[in-house]
Amino acid sequence: MKQKERAKKNYFKCIAQILFMLMVAVIPLLITNTYYLGNIVLIGIYSIVVIGLCLLMGYAGQVSLGHAAFYGLGAYGSGLLTVNWGWEPLPAMLAAALITALVAYVIGASTLKLREHYLALATLGAGVIVYIFFNEQVNLTGGPSGFSGIPYFTIGGWVFSSEVSYYYLVWFFVFVAVVFARNVVDSRIGRALRALHGSELAAACMGVPAYKYKIQVFVVSAVYGSVAGSLYAHYVTFISPSPFGFQASVEFVLMAAIGGLASIWGPLFGVAAVLMLTELLRAVVPILLPTAGGEFEIIFFGLILVAVMIFMPGGLTGGVKDWWVRRSHAASPGTVTDPDKAPEDILPSAGSGRLSK
């Protein structure tokens, strides 16, 4: 590995992170309309879930169709601990994350040994069970009617009640999520998982404990969901089971796929693209067709996803990156810009939605 290449890459990473921070910091000064700011808060919350999901889908090659359950466990954990037992929001968030991690560990330990679609099915089942639990434990969770009166997020007397302050809180968490995910990807686990993606058998022969690493990534990705759920609960201050059902799990998968699996920035783009497009359609469609409701959003959402997956299997970020690679190839034929890239990644047919970091 050439030191210079690495240093250059890291330099770009730094620039990207600083630019990201600046953008996040400046947005509330430009957007004073708290409605739009509220949308960006939601983008942040969903991004945290989706970053976790991308770690799982992109690096461990497993689909989770039950991530809304982890998101819900975080929300209910925070909500119940703060409302019923008077906990502070921060310790409640940590406790909820711990519970979620345990649940994820049990699910993962029993199913990650199996093939891809078994985790999909197991998480789907777990999602359904958790959702039913929220609905049925009426005395604890308020049942289908949900429960309100969740306090605002507080850290040591500072109350995050205004939209602007919540914006900074959520995006601070997003930033931490990105940095942490980056470290996971660059760690031994990340490298091992990429090896697994190439050939599970070969990796196993080299002594990569695939199963162990997959569980770890699965638990981390569940914790991401839980933290986002806690943030959601303190933001909306009312929760009921419906935002944590199967449909939400599917939406998370779709956002992850649109943004680009196996990429750290992809989730942000994916979530932002989906939510902003929804907003745009909500604004434009009624002008063209006054009686139309939400159906157009759904159709576009689905079709765009299909198109992205067929034509840009690496999602939006992957698509842009491919284009960039191809362009620089055209500019200077013969130079390999990215030595980390396995040859198959450059073949169009490989389309695995997998990038090398």
């Binding site: 889908m57 090659g61 497993q62 689909v63 029993s110 199913t111 040994k113 199996l114 093939r115 891809e116 679609h117 078994y118 999909a120 099915l121 197991a122 789907l124 089942g125 777990a126 359904v128 069970i129 039913i132 639990f133 609905n135 049925e136 599970e200 196993a204 695939a210 199963y211 199967f246 449909q247 599917v250 998968v253 779709l254 796929a257 699996l261 159906e295 157009f296 959003e297 759904i298 159709i299 576009f300 959402f301 689905g302 079709l303 996803l305 299909v306 997956m309 067929i310 299997p313 047919s349 389309g351 695995s352 939605g353």
Partner: protein
């Protein structure tokens, strides 16, 4: 607990099971031949139901509407394969799963646009008093569900065993490369099995509509249950899919009847997970050594 109550749960379970079995067969057909899991299966069910219901509403005869609708949905399945699955045929499992989920979302949206959110009724295939079996009741439509699903299964079996096309499909399922060497085009097979699955799904949707009515979002839950049934049966076995479907239906009805109506889905999913832990290859699937 009386015997007639148990009998009632069993009959209810069998009816539900017949539907799940039909949907599960669609999953299995596609999975064995192409190796893909098609989450659009539920939308075939919905399309079959809604097309038939609106044709009957428009004055078409019931049976004509049923046949036309099955053919239309079959055509839709073929188009879906050509337009969406074919371009992505070399993508990994995860990508194709996501594509089919995305497409099902889009199809649901289009159905919402065309049919709105109303429910559409369909008359029962034959009228008359319900049947009584050991003190339990079973309406005529349930009999239709059972008979038609059994008929579909037997036809499918005959097709796989007795026709060249069916044998070619089976060959693809057993060894795609070898099948290709023998001159069987996997792409044609893929096209064919999507068409077949779409028709199976449509049939499931049509037979259940007289009891449940048809809505644009009915495919979601039915598709999921069909998937569960298919995995329960091993994903690669037609008999397994049928068994899985009936097992799931009965589990659900018994769960609701004997334990708790609120927790019935949780119970069936829990049992599913336990089965998977004990026998990851499903009840009738063959272990394929892909466990790590």
């Amino acid at each position: 607990m009386h015997i007639n109550e148990l009998m009632q749960f069993l009959l209810t379970g069998l009816t539900l099971g017949g539907i799940y079995a039909l949907i599960a067969l669609g999953f299995v057909t596609i999975y064995t031949v192409t190796g893909h899991i098609n989450f659009t299966q539920g939308e075939f069910v919905m399309l079959g139901a809604l097309i038939t219901a609106s044709m009957v509403k428009g004055g078409t005869g019931l049976w004509a509407a049923i046949i036309a609708s099955i053919l239309l949905v079959g055509l839709f399945g073929a188009l879906f394969e050509r337009a969406v699955i074919y371009p992505a045929r070399n993508s990994p499992v995860v990508t194709v799963i996501i594509i089919t989920i995305g497409f099902s979302v889009a199809v649901r949206g289009v159905a919402l646009l065309i049919w709105g959110t109303q429910s559409y009724p369909l008359p029962s295939f034959s009228s008359g008093e319900p049947l009584y079996v050991l003190g339990a009741t079973m309406n005529k439509q349930s009999v239709w569900v059972l008979c038609l699903s059994l008929l579909a299964v037997s036809l499918l079996f005959a097709f796989f065993e007795r026709t060249v096309m069916g044998k070619a499909l089976k060959a693809c399922a057993i060894n795609r490369v070898a099948a290709r060497l023998m001159g069987i085009s996997p792409q044609r097979m893929s096209l064919f099995c999507f068409t077949l699955s779409a028709m199976l799904g449509a049939l499931a949707g049509i037979v259940i509509t007289p009891t449940t009515t048809a809505t644009y979002d009915m495919g979601l839950m039915l598709g999921l249950k069909g998937f569960v049934a298919a995995v329960l049966g091993g994903l690669t076995s037609t008999t397994g899919a049928v068994l899985g479907g009936f097992l799931l239906g009965i589990l659900e009805a018994m769960g609701a009847g004997l334990i708790s109506s609120g927790y019935k889905d949780a119970i069936s999913f829990l049992i599913l997970l336990l089965v998977l832990l004990k026998r990851p290859e499903g009840l009738l699937g063959k272990p394929d050594g892909k466990r790590v």
